[in-house]
């Protein structure tokens, strides 16, 4: 899966939690989940669980803590996929 495909998949995962539709439309690697998309911080854990399910990976607590923006999420997904 290339990066563009991963971003598309991630986009569909975060969609239900997003409060800022405009930032969502312009989602890029630099997008921050809380600041830009205005996702409720409590929902970040749901995003992580949905990512686990969609990519069939397990995200440890330390990685989950870092998963605050698209860039970090992509790195984590990539590294976990390569571990599989």
């Amino acid at each position: 899966m290339n990066k563009a495909e991963t971003i598309e998949k991630l986009k569909s995962i975060v969609k239900p939690y997003v409060k800022n539709a405009e930032a969502f439309e312009n989602l890029s690697e630099d997008t921050d989940f809380i600041r830009d998309l205005q996702i409720n911080s409590a929902n970040l854990v749901d995003v992580a669980l949905d990512v686990e399910e969609a990519f069939d990976i397990t995200i440890d607590n330390a990685s989950m803590e870092k998963m605050l923006n698209v860039k970090a999420a992509l790195e984590i997904i990539e590294s976990k996929l390569s571990e599989e």
Partner: protein, 424 residues
């Protein structure tokens, strides 16, 4: 001078109707919300009939966001939020307010919360998968979940809490909210209560053999309060909500007034005398009713109608006896009395509020709704009270004063006095 408290909004999520219009039609016509329950049958319950609000996905979407409905499994919160938001809207208060309203709060009772979610969580935890519970397991299973959800949706800034006192919960919530307004600490209080539904709530009662098992083939005949052939209650669930408001605030807003909350009383029998965890102490029940009258500034002779607790167990005769003693009235002199449980079963922690909504509608519109399934009045009851006072047909009649009582496990009692709103 003591503040007057009026009701300016109603909402209900009952087994025989969602929303006030549907519910009003249902109670006037005696429409039953009791149905055969396949799930209870599959689980080999003795009682295989139940009364649940019929909530479609369409209705859910009117009150909850798509995100809120993700992994949502908390019936009690669902019913409570629907009823609470209806009452708020019915009172013509702003929907989705921007600013916190420090004059408005809620006391919304419940017996448990999110029992479905709780069950799912337990399975995950035992499977060593606590990390996958998600972010809403707490909000759905905390007993104050219903008041917390409502507080957020309505921007409530006064007290936001949940009370719990078994089947007295709803009546107690109304009186706690009333006190909050009388004492000048709030202008508006959303008072109500709710109950989860399903086998995990009802199982304990089935095990106690207090639910009827004789009517699995004819559900609508199953709930028989005051009948000689009453054989236990029908488990139910639902929520009722009443918007209580300081009279001055209501008049200022030009709000429609359904009725006045004149006062009431809650007490406990202390599980002494004939009282126990599961049985009422009659002395306490009578005192609760007479203290409620005193608190409301009226006498037993003033009461036009009673909405009883009357669950369709062997305790119905005792309840009627308690009313005759507390009001010092019997035979032809006894007020009209009815029990909503004949059509909606026993909604447990939701019962007091669902039934109070029915009581207030009777006061507002001047009628006594018919009792179902008590054509064969229990002889102990007909000895105390003239059968005409237990109507099986709708009676159109002005109701000036109505007493609503609920009694619960733990030997707890609640009695609310509603009156027609009179300007003087």
């Amino acid at each position: 001078m003591k503040k007057r408290v009026v009701i300016t909004g109603l909402g209900v999520c009952a087994p025989n109707g969602i929303g006030i219009a549907e519910f009003l039609d249902a109670i006037r016509s005696g429409k039953s919300g009791i149905r055969f329950d396949e799930q209870l049958a599959d689980l080999q319950f003795s009682c295989q009939i139940s009364a649940k609000p019929q909530i479609t996905d369409e209705i859910k979407k009117q009150y909850f966001t798509e995100l809120e409905l993700r992994n949502f499994d908390a019936d009690g919160i669902l019913y409570g939020v629907i009823a609470g938001m209806q009452a708020w809207k019915d009172a013509n208060l702003p929907s989705n307010p921007e600013e916190t309203d420090f004059d408005s709060g809620t006391i919304f009772g419940s017996g448990t919360s999110g029992i479905g979610k709780f069950r799912e969580s337990i399975y995950k935890i035992d499977d060593k998968n606590v990390r996958r519970l998600g972010s809403t397991a707490v909000a759905q299973t905390m007993v104050s979940g219903v008041s917390a959800y409502l507080g957020g949706k309505l921007a409530l800034g006064n007290i936001v809490t949940t009370n719990s006192s078994a089947c007295t919960t709803g009546a107690e919530a109304i009186l706690m909210a009333y006190d909050r307004i009388v004492s000048g600490q709030a202008k508006r209080m959303l008072a109500g209560s709710t109950s989860d539904s399903g086998p995990y709530i009802w199982g304990g009662f089935d095990a106690m053999r207090v639910c009827t098992f004789k009517h699995n083939d004819d559900p609508e005949k199953g709930s028989r309060p005051m009948s000689a052939t009453a054989s236990g209650f029908v488990p139910g669930a639902g929520a009722g909500a009443l918007l209580l408001e300081d009279l001055d605030s209501a008049l200022e807003r030009g709000a429609l007034i359904y009725a006045e909350v004149l006062g009431g009383n809650v007490n406990s029998g202390g599980q002494r005398g004939e009282g126990s965890m599961t049985a009422p102490n009659p002395i306490a029940v009578q005192k609760c009713i007479s203290d409620a009258l005193k608190n409301a500034g009226i006498e037993g002779k003033d009461i036009d109608a009673i909405n009883g607790h009357l669950t369709a167990t062997s305790k119905d005769s005792l309840e009627i006896e308690n009313w005759t003693k507390a009001l010092d009235r019997k035979g032809d002199d006894f007020p009209y009395i009815n029990s909503l449980k004949s059509t909606v079963g026993h909604c447990l922690s939701g019962a007091g509020s669902v039934e109070s909504v029915a009581a207030v509608l009777q006061v507002k519109h001047g009628f006594v709704f018919p009792n179902s399934n008590c054509e064969d009045l229990h002889p102990e009851i007909s000895e105390l009270v003239s059968s005409e006072k237990i109507p099986t047909q709708l009676i159109e009649k002005q109701i000036d004063y109505l007493a609503k009582a609920s009694f619960g496990f733990g030997d707890v009692n609640g009695c609310v006095i509603f009156s027609r709103y009179l300007t003087e």
